[in-house]
């Protein structure tokens, strides 16, 4: 077996040094009733070539996004990732190191995470950010739990424009923590009315909302603060912050975001990278790892994991979260991509995305029977079709176009949303892709 360095001779010598006759002599604490003498019923070892052949066969049964005109978003966005990103994150010193518990041996990981925290703070307009959580949806659930700890109030109000998976994850966590979660019904394009009372810990909103509409939550922030509640703003398309007013500028207290768009592939939904930022006054209630600046024994600047007394390995059942492993390497990819873009690149990338979506909206609006639902949008918007969207999307796939997300997939119980289709366009979409999409849609609606 190519991954196992011990030779049969090594094994014999080592068993002799230990003083047992066979390897079984080291497993004597396992109750006899649970011993398995033979092999489990699975295939035997295979070489690289055979394994690669088998997995390539499975991969070939999928339609890769890059092989078709592609317009799917809904919280995961297909962007061009510069070649340097994947090259750098595959350096073994990053790829195969552990959580940086020994700072003298992990200054590389720690400094890059300090840069990550700074970038996330700048993008979201918030004072502090942590070193990542699993993904945007779990970051949102952690934000709700954190608001509960800070305000000691029992209720969270979720906007109907919140990504349905984020809403579901919040609801799952809340069932067990005892927090009451009230969710408004999804009303694409409409304005929501939030009931905030003296038991409201937080209001959770999204920008752009799940249907792509841009929302200024500044007035809501003022209302929340007047009522002693916190405003949690979710961002599922982080590239939008290159063009759009940040949650911090709107008065958000906590930002929970998905960072996949920068540096990370679609990956069929994971791994992605959860971004989590808040105001400095709440930092000791934050979940997750934090990297802080300090000095070494010679007075030189260096970095360490800090404020660990919030965390499970110190505080155990009193920790702010149970999180341990987070999304380190995905955060590194985010940091490298953002470093490559810089101010000029990120703002231009955002404008390219917005331009692509604007042009696509104009093209689709020209297709007979189609209405654009949005007043405003960044790189994703909702269209109303003259018939249910799910079979149309299936028909588009037959034409070789991956043409958006039918809302019925995420709201199967809502007949009134069945004709709505969520469509995204990033910088990867070409003019020819749009032509094919508009043509296929015309055919599919015929």
């Amino acid at each position: 077996m190519r991954y196992l360095p011990l030779t049969p001779g090594d094994r014999r010598d080592m068993l002799a040094a230990i003083g047992v006759g066979s390897i079984d002599g080291l497993f004597t604490d396992v109750p006899k009733a649970a011993w398995r003498d033979g092999l489990v019923d699975l295939p035997l070892a295979q070489g690289e070539l055979e394994v690669e052949r088998a997995l390539r066969r499975m991969a070939a049964k999928n339609v890769a996004a890059g092989s078709a005109p592609f317009f799917i978003g809904g919280g995961v966005y297909r962007h061009h990732v510069p070649a340097a990103v994947d090259h750098l994150i595959q350096r073994g010193e990053f790829l195969t190191s552990y959580t940086p518990y020994q700072p003298e041996l992990a200054q590389g990981t720690l400094q890059s995470l300090f840069e990550f925290q700074t970038q996330v703070g700048l993008l979201t307009g918030m004072e502090v950010a942590n070193a990542s959580l699993y993904d945007g949806a779990t970051a949102c659930a952690e934000a709700v739990a954190m608001a509960h700890r800070i305000t000691r109030r029992g209720k969270a109000v979720l906007s109907g424009g919140l990504h349905p998976h984020y809403r579901e994850v919040c609801t799952t966590y809340a069932q067990f923590s005892g927090l009451e979660v009230g969710s408004l019904a999804a009303t694409p394009g409409a304005t929501e009315k939030f009931d905030i009372d003296d038991n409201t810990a937080c209001v959770v909103v999204q920008n752009p909302d799940f249907f792509g509409e841009l929302r200024d939550w500044s007035a809501l922030a003022t209302r929340c603060h007047a009522a002693g509640a916190l405003l949690v703003v979710v961002v599922t398309e982080i590239v939008s912050l290159g063009a759009v007013k940040s949650p911090g500028e709107m008065g958000a207290d906590i930002v929970a975001a998905e960072g996949q768009s920068l540096g990370n592939a679609l990956n069929f939904g994971g791994p992605h990278v959860g971004l989590f930022a808040c105001r400095e006054q709440h930092v000791r209630q934050m979940p997750g790892r934090l990297v802080g600046q300090t000095t070494d024994a010679e007075g030189r600047r260096g970095w360490v994991l800090t404020l660990s007394t919030r965390e499970q390995h110190i505080r155990r059942e009193k920790a702010t979260s149970n999180i341990c492993t987070n999304a380190g390497l995905c955060a590194l990819a985010f940091t490298i991509h953002t470093a490559l873009l810089g101010e000029a690149g990120l703002t231009r990338l955002a404008r390219l995305n917005h331009a692509a979506a604007c042009i696509l909206a104009d093209r689709l609006a020209a297709v007979p029977g189609i209405d654009i639902v949005n007043q405003s949008f960044f790189n994703e918007f909702t269209v109303r079709l003259p018939k249910p969207a799910a079979p149309v999307v299936a028909a588009l796939a037959e034409y070789g176009v991956l043409g958006g997300v039918p809302l019925s997939r995420l709201y199967p119980e809502r007949d009134d949303l069945a004709d709505l289709l969520l469509v995204a366009a990033t910088e990867t979409v070409t003019d020819d892709d749009m032509t094919q999409f508009a043509h296929a849609l015309t055919e599919a609606l015929r």
């Binding site: 700072p103 690149g345 997939r409």
Partner: protein, 519 residues
């Protein structure tokens, strides 16, 4: 602080003179500022076209001020992160004996296959007909995990071990609630990972610790005394964090079940028994597996991980969404809590789980096969025991006798030397090794927990053992100063963690930097 004027000056506490340089660099140890300190405003490492003409639809929400990101070209960025990488220790560089972390070799085939466009460039909301191969991969991975654990169901969406624990404990609470009473207490041994009590608390339970017996295992009598109708579950790590198999596990399982409670097992240490022992045969009802430990997906400096949970039939109906099921038309995704999934706890994360990690783990398992995986467990246990006997003369083993995949020592061997476990670990850094896990588990004083894994050669183990033995001799010889000063040879020496926590500086700020420079 740098320059030839300081040449050959001795640092306080250092073993000898150290050459000062103009740059602060020391040969291959290169100083590297933050990207924010390398800003060429307007510069960019990506060439993007001018956006085409369009009618803006941002609705008056345009960002007004600058973001504040620095501008760098691609060569600067590549050099920056290459230099940072060189300040890291990694399993690629050497032995990484962190106990309970399973730092084994990460095969590069897995990286290659996870990047196939058919897996990596796949959107989770594509029409199901376009992702059949992804569902097949998930189903195949589930089959391997079910076979290895002997358990009938596996929930794949948890994103890491702690998330898997949350999944397992939520299914347990859901099952008990369905029976009419979620109960109040979770029993957790004192040697458990911190994630166990933290998870139980999130699920609304009170934590009741269980003492270890003199043999480093759960005290069966103490456990039985604590069991009662208000106990929801026992959370046990097996092999436990002392590196020992819980040899009374069948009696433990029977007692837990007799009390109407569930038996949750933290499978972080599954590497010791994979292919040799099936958790189902030990009476376990739920067990999470860390794909980033046993199944070699890279730790990446702290993630991403993946924490599938194997479930007994009694818990399977409560598994989180989504499910991949065998339907009339082949494999299908169940994304809503209705029909057969009506009792699901719901969704635990966005989309379908850590697909990129699934590909890597399946590639690892298929490469090893049933025979190779069993050999993994045997070599992991053999390597740990070999280190145990090689270190027995110099270190103080906490619980005598054979261990499983990791071996636990405490700081008795450092008694009266003035050297602490921390000092000892830092001295190991100067010798070119990553230290073992320190001060965990909490059940012994000054713990040193060593897990070499199966991917170390005998020569590598011998070199490590020789080094540890030599350091122990040096500590006993009264060379405490050298230990207190360590490490001396790393890019940074001991870092002041107390100061970092007292006045947290959690991000770069231009003003703060200017102020600091003026001081």
């Amino acid at each position: 602080m740098t320059g030839w004027s300081q040449a050959l000056s001795a640092h306080p506490g250092s073993a000898g003179g150290e050459l000062q340089t103009f740059t602060g660099n020391r040969g291959l140890q290169l100083e590297e500022p933050l990207i924010f300190e390398q800003d060429s405003p307007g510069h960019c490492g990506v060439d993007l076209p001018e956006p085409p003409a369009h009618r803006c639809r941002l609705g008056g929400l345009e960002r007004q001020g600058p973001i504040g990101l620095p501008g760098l070209s691609e060569p600067q960025v590549v050099r920056h992160f290459t230099r940072l990488s060189q300040k890291n220790y990694a399993i690629d560089s050497g032995l990484y004996p962190l106990g309970s972390c399973t730092m084994k070799h990460n095969p590069r085939l897995n990286e290659k296959l996870a990047r196939l466009p058919g897996f990596a460039d796949l959107h989770p909301l594509q029409p199901e007909a376009t992702v059949k191969g992804a569902l097949e991969l998930i189903d195949t991975l589930a089959h391997w995990l079910k076979t290895l654990t002997g358990m009938p169901a596996v929930a794949l969406s948890p994103a890491a071990g702690a998330h898997g624990e949350l999944c397992g404990m939520m299914t347990i609470r859901a099952a008990l609630t369905a029976q009419g009473d979620p109960r109040q207490r979770i029993l957790v041994p004192e040697s458990a990972h911190g994630t166990n009590p933290a998870t139980a608390a999130i699920c609304g339970y009170a934590i009741d610790p269980i003492a270890a017996n003199a043999r480093g295992r759960v005290d069966l009598a103490a456990l039985k005394a604590k069991l009662g109708p208000d106990v929801a579950a026992l959370m046990l790590t097996n092999p436990n964090t002392c590196g020992l198999f819980e040899d009374e596990i069948l009696e433990i399982a029977a007692a837990v079940h007799a009390a109407g409670a569930f038996f949750y097992c933290d499978g972080a240490n599954f590497n010791a028994i994979v292919g040799r022992v099936r958790p189902a045969d030990l009476g376990i009802d739920a067990l999470h597996l860390n794909l980033h430990k046993t199944f070699s997906t890279p730790h990446g400096g702290g993630g991403p991980g993946s924490g599938p949970v194997a479930l007994a039939a009694s818990l399977a109906p409560h598994a989180p969404l989504p499910w991949v099921v065998h339907g009339d038309a082949g494999l299908a995704l169940v994304e809503q809590a209705k029909g057969p999934a009506a009792a699901s706890i719901g969704r635990l994360k966005g989309f379908h789980g850590q697909m990129g990690m699934f590909v890597r783990a399946l590639s690892y398992m298929m490469s090893h096969g049933a025979d190779g995986l069993r050999q993994v467990a045997e070599d992991a246990v053999l390597n740990a025991n070999y280190l145990r006997v090689r270190l027995a003369g110099a270190l103080s083993q906490s619980y005598p006798g054979a261990c499983m995949h990791e071996v636990l020592f405490d700081d008795r061997f450092l008694k009266d030397t003035g050297v602490t476990t921390l000092d000892f670990a830092k001295a190991l850094i100067d010798e070119g090794f990553h230290p073992m896990t320190m001060y965990f588990p909490l059940v012994v004083h000054g713990a040193l927990l060593i897990e070499p894994t199966e991917t170390e050669s005998k020569a590598s183990l011998d070199q490590f053992a020789d080094t540890v033995n030599a350091l122990a001799a040096r500590a006993r010889a009264g060379d405490g100063e050298r230990f207190h000063a360590a490490p001396l040879l790393t890019p940074r020496r001991r870092l002041d963690e107390t100061a970092a926590a007292r006045k947290p500086v959690l991000r770069w700020r231009p003003q703060a930097q200017r102020k600091e420079a003026a001081e």
